[in-house]
């Protein structure tokens, strides 16, 4: 560790220029602070091709420089605080579409491509990548894969692990490796691609990702069913028991519309989408309306553009949140847990937003970080509650001062056996511990 910082930045910079050219290497002090809170600047290098990326990594490995991969830098608040970093490998210039055959519904893009640009391209062919995470418009595909994000659509479309079918990875030793294939079905060899989803760049750096796509829904409706947590949970149960095909089953606290602070008045809303076409949507909407009237919940329906606008507003509202906590629990426990967390947030005077994809057993708490002490206490309290229920909580985004006190990965079910295997995997793919050391679960 010490060694790498006895090397002057100038030497690192000169060496990296041999890999990526002099225009694409620079010393960066602001980024350094954001990556690991370090005072020492990092040297940012912008490889223009996968083999340049591999050469950078080989050089870094040989010299013992610690490396952090950085896409748009919008997801840096995820993960424990890494050891000081010498080199930031930026994927910005790797932003091309490598292969897109709309008729095969498979796309391969370089990892630095902006997710928003990818979705726009796909939409022009009536297709989409089926994820809808809360993220910056600048976020890159590689960054989203490395952070394993998801959104309300996961209850129908699944998560990145259901969509990422192949990758190209630069390993720390400079090996450039393909995993998976560019066809939707493939079982040749180990499914290594999966290891990189949510790995925070600790195993290798993605240079390309290949995804399975979905058709863009031709028609959309979204029913908003409002009531108390008990009413909303009763509706959740009915929907899960039915044959309905929700494209979202998102529990939201209506204070997200702006009525913050007063927990006693917290109203909850279940946002149930339908992407199944006009006739099916009409049927689903009627069924939901009936369910709502039986339990005495309020009912609103949005159609087509209104649905798109609803989720756009949702993402825009939540995107600036400084704290994102992911909670995982059985669907039957999730709504009441959300209620508990809302009460804890109110007690800690933290303005929190709650968004729980009920049938997937996953939820997120978003909060603005104004009072760090209150946030620290809230996280402790939420984790205490999660431990009691044997549920999982993961900090997906938090400022450095929060992550200094809390381990981001906190899963009651992650046993020593699993951790030991994870450590061996890290050791196998990054034996010199070059890639963002200490950032990951279990000190990896």
């Amino acid at each position: 560790m010490e060694e790498s910082f006895q090397v002057p930045e100038q030497r690192i910079q000169d060496a990296l220029m041999t890999c990526a050219g002099s225009d694409y290497v620079r010393v960066d002090s602001q980024l350094a602070a954001r990556i690991s809170g370090q005072r020492e600047p990092v040297v940012s290098v912008f490889p223009g091709a996968a083999d340049e990326m591999a050469a950078v990594l080989r050089l870094a490995s040989e010299n013992g420089w610690k490396v952090a991969p950085v896409g748009a830098g919008t997801q840096l608040g995820f993960g424990n605080i890494a050891q000081p970093i010498a080199v930031a490998v930026r994927t910005e210039r790797l932003c091309q579409v490598v292969d897109y055959s709309p008729a095969d519904m498979v796309v391969t893009v370089q990892s630095g491509m902006r997710f928003a640009d990818l979705q726009q391209l796909l939409a022009s062919h009536g297709q989409m990548l089926g994820i809808d995470p809360v993220c910056s418009p600048a976020a890159t595909v590689g960054g989203l894969v490395a952070t394993g994000v998801s959104g309300p659509a996961r209850v129908l479309y699944g998560t990145l692990r259901d969509m990422l079918i192949g990758t190209r990875i630069a390993f720390a030793d400079g090996d450039l490796v393909r995993t998976g294939a560019k066809v939707v079905k493939n079982v040749a060899g180990y499914d290594l691609s999966k290891l990189f989803i949510g790995s925070l760049g600790t195993l290798g750096i993605l240079t390309e990702c290949t995804f399975k796509l979905k058709p863009l829904p031709l028609y959309r409706e979204l029913c908003l069913l409002g009531g108390s947590i008990t009413q909303v949970d009763a509706l959740r149960k009915q929907v899960m028991d039915s044959n309905l095909i929700p494209s979202s089953l998102e529990l939201l606290a209506t204070e997200q519309a702006g009525n913050a602070g007063d927990h006693s008045s917290t109203q909850w809303m279940l946002a149930v989408g339908c992407d199944e076409g006009e006739q099916a949507s009409a049927f689903q909407t009627r069924s939901l309306q009936q369910m709502a009237s039986v339990v005495g919940a309020s009912f609103t329906v949005l159609r087509q553009a209104e649905v798109v606008q609803f989720w756009e507003r949702y993402r825009k509202t939540l995107e600036p949140s400084g704290l994102v906590l992911r909670i995982q629990a059985p669907p039957t426990q999730l709504a009441s847990l959300a209620g508990d967390i809302a009460a804890l947030a109110a007690a800690h005077e933290v303005r929190a937003f709650h968004s729980f994809s009920l049938s997937s057993g996953t939820g997120r708490v978003f909060a603005k970080v104004s009072d760090v002490a209150a946030i620290l206490d809230l996280i402790s309290a939420v984790r205490q509650r999660c431990s009691e229920l044997a549920c999982v909580s993961v900090i997906e985004r938090a400022p450095l001062e929060v992550r200094r006190h809390h381990d981001c990965f906190h899963g009651s079910r992650v046993g020593e056996g699993e951790l030991a295997v994870m450590r061996s995997i890290k050791q196998a793919f990054d034996p010199r511990n070059v890639l963002t050391p200490s950032k990951y679960a279990g000190g990896i």
Binding site: G126, G189, D191, A280, R326, A441
Partner: protein, 494 residues
């Protein structure tokens, strides 16, 4: 055979009646449903608990005995075939359904639990287990996990990896670890994601948590006859590009239809059509009728000769039986056959089928085609007669050529049957030496002594080069006897 001392130790762990060690007893375990290569196991044990599996594996480690797990033995690539006098650990007696949680839509099963039994058990409450390999009435969920099994409906619902959410695994060291989470995302690396599909080389799953789904409210099944394969292929592309995701799209060619019509499941396909397409759509009743009608319109736009919707469940069941019994039905027209499992981009269907027909002529062997057209997963069935010297080798060679065509078209050597023994030679065709090195690194994490299902899935490094050299010389100097020496050697060394 294993030493008597070892057999005694095994009996100690699993009790005497759960150990088979006589040659005549273990004969049935000399291969799986890939029958081209066989060899006797050292012994067979039938553990009844995770703890017993762990103790057996620990014993194997102490004594340096190669071992491998086995489910129902329906695998099609030799993944459960003992090539090293291995101890076969049969999970057949770990066949319990441990828990069903309808409210949270999860079930926990032991590895020997049969795929279709799960669906049957939960059907009353309107649930089912989605992955549906053709062998689902006998194959086990543990085997499905090992092979990442697919099936006809994975076009819409995904393969095994999309449905297994957690597992208790006995690692090749004998340690027990839990992977995955019943709800939500992995916390840490998605280790479960690499264990699924690892063909029993990374450990033995002993408790498996899977998603169970609500049955769709309505299903419509469409059967279409085409004069030309090209029209059928285009229909598949057109359906998908119209924004419909059918639950399944299956295609059979002429030879295949003739074979299944000779079986118990006689549909009465016209003799002169080139292709039959089976398309299933499901969802809410309110929309399905309309979707089925759109599918039929697309068939008509592509010169379909005849297209119909199954009039009742009996007709739908007949059509599906006809499709699912395609492999065994080949026995009606050929004494022996070899199944392949290549995947291609859907858009290359016509081109690759034409190439397969050419290769079939070049090799002088008939090839029947049945495939999951929706996801480009081909199952060419190569007909041969093992009694004719050299034909089996010729069939294997043809199979290899077909897989290479799939890779050349941008696809894969296996979509759902696995690499096993059968396709280990083609791994180096699909992946570079560097790609395979990464795969081996993972294997060594779990299986450093290479005792657990050794010689399957990932070729050894030195042997990759042998494969390549042998392929080249085989291509340059076709053996005059037609016997593929390269293939034989390859299997012995890997």
């Amino acid at each position: 055979m294993l030493a008597e001392r070892i057999i005694a130790a095994l009996r100690e762990i699993v009790s005497a009646q759960n150990v088979l060690s006589e040659a005549n007893q273990v004969k049935a375990y000399d291969c799986d449903a890939y029958v081209a290569e066989k060899s006797l196991p050292g012994a067979v044990v039938f553990p009844e608990s995770t703890d017993q599996v762990a103790r057996v594996v620990k014993l194997c480690n102490q004594e340096s005995i190669p071992f491998l797990p086995r489910g129902a033995g329906t695998g099609l690539s030799g993944g459960a075939t003992p090539r090293n006098n291995d101890l076969v650990i049969s999970l057949a007696r770990m066949d319990k359904l441990l828990a069903v949680d309808f409210d949270n839509q999860r079930a926990v099963v032991q590895p020997g639990f049969v795929n279709l039994v799960l669906t049957k058990t939960i059907a009353e409450r309107g649930f089912y287990y989605a992955p549906d390999p053709s062998s689902q009435s006998v194959c086990t969920i543990g085997g499905n996990l090992a092979e990442n099994a697919g099936g006809s409906h994975c076009l819409k619902y995904g393969v095994t990896t999309n449905h297994v959410v957690a597992a208790k695994v006995v690692l090749p060291s004998g340690e027990i670890a839990d992977f995955g989470h019943p709800f939500g995302d992995p916390v840490g690396y998605d280790v479960l994601g690499v264990i699924v599909g690892s063909e029993g080389t990374l450990g033995i799953a002993t408790e498996i948590t899977v998603k169970i789904l609500k049955r769709p409210e309505a299903v419509k099944t469409v059967l279409a006859y085409f004069d030309h394969v090209d029209d059928a292929s285009r229909t598949v592309s057109d359906i998908i590009s119209s924004g419909i995701i059918p639950a399944a799209v299956e295609m059979m060619d002429q030879l295949m239809m003739q074979a299944v019509d000779k079986s118990h499941y006689h549909v009465g396909y016209p003799l002169d059509i080139e292709a039959a397409l089976l398309v299933e759509v499901d969802g809410l009743s309110a929309g399905v009728e309309d979707t089925a009608r759109r599918v039929m319109e697309i068939c008509e736009q592509n010169h379909v000769r005849r297209v119909q919707i199954a009039k009742d469940d009996a007709e739908r069941a007949l059509w599906w039986s006809s499709r699912k019994m395609a492999f065994p039905a080949i026995g009606r027209i050929s004494p022996d056959y070899l199944v392949q499992d290549g995947v291609i981009p859907r858009t290359k269907l016509t081109e690759v089928l034409r190439r397969i027909a050419e290769l079939s002529r070049e090799h002088g062997l008939r090839v029947a085609n049945v495939f999951h057209a929706g996801d480009g997963n081909l199952h060419p069935l190569i007909c041969y007669d093992a009694r004719i010297p050299g034909q089996r080798e010729q069939a294997m060679k043809l199979g290899e050529r077909i897989l290479e065509q799939c890779v050349d078209a941008g696809g894969s050597i296996t979509g759902e049957h696995g690499v096993g023994l059968e396709k280990i030679g083609q791994m180096a065709y699909m992946f570079s030496a560097t790609d395979l090195k990464a795969q081996r690194r993972l294997r060594e994490v779990f299986n450093p002594r290479d005792l657990c299902n050794s010689g399957k899935l990932i070729p050894h490094p030195a042997r990759c080069a042998e494969f390549r050299d042998a392929r080249k010389s085989a291509a340059q100097h076709m053996n005059p006897t037609g016997r593929n020496i390269f293939r034989e050697e390859a299997h012995e060394s890997c």
